[in-house]
C-alpha cells in the first residue's frame, strides 16, 4: 500500500473522537483556521451561487494556475462538464461531495481537513481525487474516514473508541415474515430534463428474499431508480409489473417499498426517537429496533440532536418500523464504521430470511460480501 506524503489519514471506529481530533487540529501554526469539510457536503458549498459553474468560479477567484489546471482536469475526468449549468443543490450526494472538495482545493490555503465525505464517492472518483492530491504536494490534507483501507491506503493514525459507545446489535433484531412479491421493471426510462436521460431502457426483475446491490458511478441513476420503485417519482416511460400485473408505484408511495434516504435529516420528523420509531403505535417494535440499532439510551432525545452516525441509524430503523415487503437503503453505511456496517449487513440478511426484498445503494460493497447479493451496475 502506497502512502501519499501530504495526506494524513485518520482511522478509528465511530465515537473514537476522529471528528473532534480534526476540529481540534483545525488551526495551523499561525492560528489561521484550516479549511474543513464535514459530513454533509452541501453545507460546505458557498450557498451564494446557484450554478456549479459559478461555484467553481467563486472559489478559483484568487488562485494559482497549477491548482486551477489540476482541478479542471479532475472535474473533467469525473464528467463534471455536463453539470456546469445545473443548480449545485440538484446534484447527487456524491457529486456535491466532489464539488465541495474541488472548491476547497481551489482556495489559496494549504491546510484542508475532510471528515467522512469521501465515502459518498465511487471508487473511480476516489482514484482521480487521490491522484489530484498527489499532484498538489504543497496542500496538507487530513482525512478522517471509515473506508481508508478500501481506498487502498493504511491509516497513519487509528484512534481508539471509548467503551460506552452505542453498539448496533443484529441479534436483537426480529422480523415479521411477508408474502412473496416480484417487481418486473420493463424498459423504463427517466429524465429530469428534456435533454438528458438518467435511466435509459432499464429492464430488471426484483424478487423478495434477495439482497440487491445497486452500484455505478455517481449520477448513474441509482437514487432515481429507488425513487421510482418507492413511488416518489412518476415513471415517464416503461412499465412496472408486480406479480405479473401492471403496478404504478406513484399511486402507492411508500406503501409496498420502504425507502431510507441518503441524507437522514430529511427523513426525521418526530420530537423524540421513540416516536420516530413509531413507538406510539407499536412500542414493543420501537424498543426492539432501538435495542438493535443502539438507540435505547436516546429514546427521549430529539432525533435532530443526535450525532450524524446515530441520525443515519435512526433513519434506517424508522424505515424498518413500518412493515413493507421491500426496503431500499441509500448509502446505509454512510458514517458507520466497519463493525457497524457488518452488523447492518446481518440485519439486511435477516430481512431477506423473513421474506423481504432488500435493495442497497452503496459504493462500499465489502460490508455485504459475507452474504449472497446480486450486483446491478447502472453505469
Amino acid at each position: 500500500m502506497v502512502q501519499i506524503k501530504n495526506i494524513e489519514l485518520i482511522g478509528g471506529e465511530n465515537f473514537s473522537g476522529r471528528s473532534a481530533y480534526l476540529r481540534e487540529k483545525n488551526c495551523d501554526n499561525n492560528s489561521r483556521k484550516r479549511l474543513f469539510i464535514g459530513e454533509i457536503p452541501s453545507n460546505y458549498l458557498s450557498g451564494l451561487t446557484t450554478t456549479v459553474d459559478n461555484e467553481i468560479r467563486l472559489h478559483r477567484a484568487n488562485n494559482n494556475q497549477q491548482i486551477i489546471v489540476e482541478i479542471d482536469a479532475l472535474l473533467k475526468k469525473c464528467d463534471f462538464d455536463k453539470h456546469l449549468f445545473k443548480n449545485s443543490f440538484n446534484l447527487s450526494g456524491g457529486e456535491q461531495a466532489l464539488l465541495a472538495v474541488a472548491c476547497h482545493l481551489l482556495i489559496d490555503k494549504d491546510d484542508l481537513a475532510i471528515d467522512t465525505v469521501l465515502e459518498q464517492l465511487s471508487s473511480s472518483w476516489i482514484l482521480h481525487l487521490f491522484d489530484t492530491f498527489r499532484k498538489l504536494p504543497h496542500k496538507k490534507i487530513m482525512i478522517s474516514d471509515n473506508r481508508i483501507k478500501s481506498y487502498g491506503f493504511e491509516p497513519d493514525m487509528i484512534l481508539q473508541h471509548n467503551n460506552d459507545k452505542p453498539l448496533i446489535d443484529s441479534k436483537k433484531f426480529q422480523i415479521n415474515t411477508s408474502e412473496d412479491i416480484n417487481f418486473l421493471l420493463d424498459d423504463i426510462s427517466f429524465s429530469y430534463s428534456r435533454f438528458q436521460n438518467v435511466l435509459t431502457n432499464f429492464t430488471y426483475e426484483f424478487e423478495t428474499g434477495k439482497i440487491y446491490l445497486l452500484n455505478g458511478k455517481n449520477g448513474a441513476g441509482k437514487t432515481t431508480l429507488a425513487k421510482i420503485l418507492s413511488g416518489v417519482l412518476k415513471l415517464k416511460h416503461g412499465k412496472i409489473y408486480k406479480n405479473g400485473l401492471i403496478y404504478v408505484p406513484y399511486s402507492y408511495p411508500g406503501k409496498i417499498v420502504g425507502y431510507s434516504f441518503q441524507d437522514p435529516d430529511e427523513q426525521l420528523f418526530a420530537n423524540t426517537v421513540f416516536r420516530e420509531l413509531n413507538g406510539n403505535v407499536d412500542s414493543l417494535k420501537a424498543n426492539m429496533l432501538a435495542k438493535s440499532f443502539g438507540l435505547s439510551d436516546f429514546m427521549e432525545e430529539h432525533p435532530q440532536d443526535l450525532p450524524f452516525v446515530l441520525r443515519k441509524r435512526l433513519a434506517i430503523a424508522a424505515t424498518l418500523s413500518i412493515d413493507r415487503s421491500f426496503y431500499i437503503f441509500d448509502e446505509p453505511t454512510l458514517g458507520q464504521d466497519d463493525n457497524t456496517s457488518k452488523e447492518l449487513a446481518k440485519i439486511f440478511h435477516k430481512l431477506t430470511t423473513g421474506g423481504k426484498g432488500v435493495i442497497i445503494i452503496s459504493h462500499f460493497k465489502e460490508f455485504i460480501l459475507e452474504y449472497d447479493s446480486i450486483d446491478i451496475n447502472l453505469s
Binding site: L48, F269, A318, R324
Partner: protein, 226 residues
C-alpha cells in the same frame, strides 16, 4: 472562458425599473397599461422562456384579486367594471415590472450585483438571500418527498400536500439552523469576503435589440403616462 450572457444588461435593468415604475404610477388610462404590457412586458417573457411563470402569476394572483375587486366594488359598491379593471391592470403592470427586474438567470446573478456596485458584506447578504429562498424551497420539497417515501401520505392530492406543511417545519428548521452554523463557519475559514472581492468579471453579452426595445418602449410609456 465563456462570456456571461445577460438576459437584460444590468444598467438597462435599473433604467427599466425606474422608468417602468414611474410610468405605472402616472398612467391614467387602461389602454396605455394594456399596450405596454402587451408589446414590452409579454415579449420579454417570451424571449426568456418565462411566459409560463408569468401566466401562473396572472392566474393565481391577479385573477383572484380581480374577482375580489368585482365582488367588493362592482357588486357591493356599484363602482363599475372600468374602475376595477383599471386598478387591477395598474397593479398587474407594477408587479410585472418588478417580476422582470428580479428575473435574473442563475448564472448572471453575481455579475449583475457586481455591476450595480454592491460589494463586501452587503453583497454577501444579498446573494445569500437569493440563494436561501431556492435552498428552502428545495429542502421543503425533499422533506415532503421523504414523507411520501415513509408512506405517511395516503393519496396524492393538493389537500394532502398542504396538510404536510406543519410536518415539514421541524426538519426544515433543524436543517436550516445546522446549515447556517456550518456554512457561516465555512465562510470564515474560506474568507468568503476576499473570494467575492476577487471574483473575476467576464466579458458580457446581451440581446442588444431587446435591451433597446425595452428602453425605448418604457421611455415612451413614461412620456405618454405623464
Amino acid at each position: 472562458m465563456k462570456d456571461v450572457f445577460y438576459s437584460i444588461h444590468p444598467y438597462t435593468r435599473i433604467c427599466f425599473l425606474a422608468l417602468g415604475i414611474t410610468g405605472t404610477i402616472f398612467a391614467n388610462r387602461i389602454t396605455i397599461l394594456s399596450l405596454y404590457w402587451l408589446f414590452t412586458l409579454i415579449p420579454f417573457f417570451v424571449i426568456n422562456r418565462k411566459l409560463v411563470s408569468h401566466i401562473k402569476v396572472l392566474l393565481f394572483v391577479f385573477l383572484p384579486i380581480y374577482l375580489s375587486y368585482i365582488l367588493i366594488y362592482v357588486w357591493a359598491s356599484k363602482f363599475g367594471f372600468d374602475y376595477v379593471s383599471f386598478r387591477v391592470a395598474k397593479l398587474m403592470v407594477f408587479a410585472t415590472v418588478i417580476q422582470i427586474f428580479f428575473s435574473f438567470k442563475s448564472n448572471e446573478q453575481i455579475d449583475t450585483f457586481l455591476k450595480w456596485k454592491f460589494k463586501g458584506n452587503l453583497l454577501l447578504v444579498i446573494l445569500g438571500t437569493f440563494s436561501v429562498i431556492d435552498d428552502i424551497v428545495k429542502q421543503s420539497d425533499k422533506i415532503v418527498t421523504a414523507r411520501y417515501a415513509r408512506g405517511f401520505i395516503k393519496d396524492r392530492n393538493i389537500y394532502n400536500t398542504i396538510k404536510q406543511i406543519p410536518q415539514t417545519l421541524v426538519p426544515l428548521f433543524a436543517i436550516a439552523i445546522r446549515t447556517s452554523i456550518e456554512r457561516s463557519d465555512s465562510w470564515e475559514r474560506k474568507d468568503m469576503l476576499s473570494l467575492l472581492s476577487n471574483w473575476e468579471q467576464k466579458r458580457y453579452r446581451t440581446h442588444y435589440l431587446s435591451d433597446i426595445w425595452i428602453l425605448i418602449t418604457t421611455t415612451l410609456y413614461l412620456v405618454i403616462s405623464l
